[in-house]
Subunit: 233 residues, 2 copies
């Protein structure tokens, strides 16, 4: 049986944070925590009797600041991040194909999925995939800034994520419509940006979105590359 | 290993809806669905490949309207509700101690927990308790209207819910602070309204809250007693 993660929501940036609890041990991993929720997230770990092994980032976010550095300092967890995201202070620099082990034999498989950013990664744990801003429910992350590439995102989603088993549960990095979870099978057949669409069509679609520049990007990216800690800390 | 439910949120009323998926079958139960989210919730069932066996209510809500009747009509599920809540069209009228069975041997234990309303119930499934408005994370439901009783709520929480194993995960009917889940052990020792407080203190505290009347109560309660369907339907 595959457990669901604990899903936490940041209403200001519509960001999901996930706590993965290892069956049979107290060890846990947190994915993409947000700075302003650090006390809330620590209380969840305390309430659930969990000990944080890793703080794991899917990429260097442009729309909010991570609490990874604060959580590391408060819990003794290690920080883990994609090697290609410039998050230098993370002890574990992850490469495609790596396996992050925690708890009593739990493994998180690392998939390099460039497109939203060049370094973005997705993580697979017990029939669940944590897709960051690569694949959203019936959508995908933007590809027009910060080393993004619609071509690369098309390959990452259709080549790597859609190759996972259909029943794999998709836990996105954001949702703006009150949705929680999807599956690879559903997204493969129904995702309005990526299902049954040619690469050329997808690249054209993404190029025409004309999205505004994220308000926080000039602050958030450098902050996130330092695990959300002040530079020099 | 005890699975977590799928947790869905209604931002307008800060209501949680839960989907319980039975390991080893397609069968599912949904708890406290909200009318305006009926399409969202049906899509989640579709995406996850689930078939709805029961729509389950914790009580007749005063702050939002259920989609139980609509979900029943769209899926063929049965409606289940506490006998004491006046939800007459529900096929399954639940009493304290009943067991609701679904999927391949899954069981939901029914606990009558009066206090928020006289008929309110909590449901226990695989190490999880769904507490409706009886017990919230670091709080509890109000007891000043609709057959509420602070005395009864004190007994329900301290006598019945706090008797569950400490590791039982608490999934509330609402949260207003971005929190997702707690445990019986934590609430027993730290809940700011109920931990280490005498009955008299608790009754005094609840009596002094002076909360406004819920805006929707005169519409929502009769609607919810008809599973959210127009009367006559």
């Amino acid at each position: 049986m595959n457990p669901n993660p604990i899903q936490l929501f940041d209403a200001e940036s519509s960001t999901f944070t996930y706590i993965l609890a290892a069956p049979g041990s107290e060890d846990a991993v947190i994915i993409d925590p947000v700075d302003r929720n650090v006390e809330r997230d620590l209380r969840h770990l305390e309430r659930l009797g969990l000990k944080l092994a890793y703080v794991l980032e899917t990429h260097a976010h442009a729309d909010h600041v991570t609490s990874a550095g604060m959580l590391r300092a408060r819990t003794g967890a290690q920080a883990a991040a994609p090697r290609g995201c410039g998050i230098a202070p993370a002890e574990r620099q992850l490469d495609d194909g790596d396996v992050l082990a925690f708890g009593a034999g739990e493994t998180i498989a690392v998939l390099h999925t460039p497109g939203h950013t060049a370094g973005s990664m997705c993580y697979v744990w017990r029939g669940n995939v944590f897709t960051g801003d690569t694949l959203l429910i019936d959508g995908c992350g933007r590809t027009d800034f910060q080393s993004g590439s619609a071509d690369a995102l098309y390959d990452s989603v259709t080549g790597k994520l859609f190759a996972l088993p259909d029943a794999t549960r998709v836990w996105p990095g954001h949702d703006y419509k009150g949705q929680s979870v999807s599956t690879i099978g559903w997204e493969k057949h129904h995702n309005s940006r990526l299902a049954n669409r040619s690469r050329d069509d997808f690249v054209k679609l993404m190029g025409a979105l004309n999205l505004p520049k994220p308000k926080l990007i000039d602050v958030a990216v450098p902050a996130n590359q330092n695990l959300g800690l002040p530079h020099g800390a």
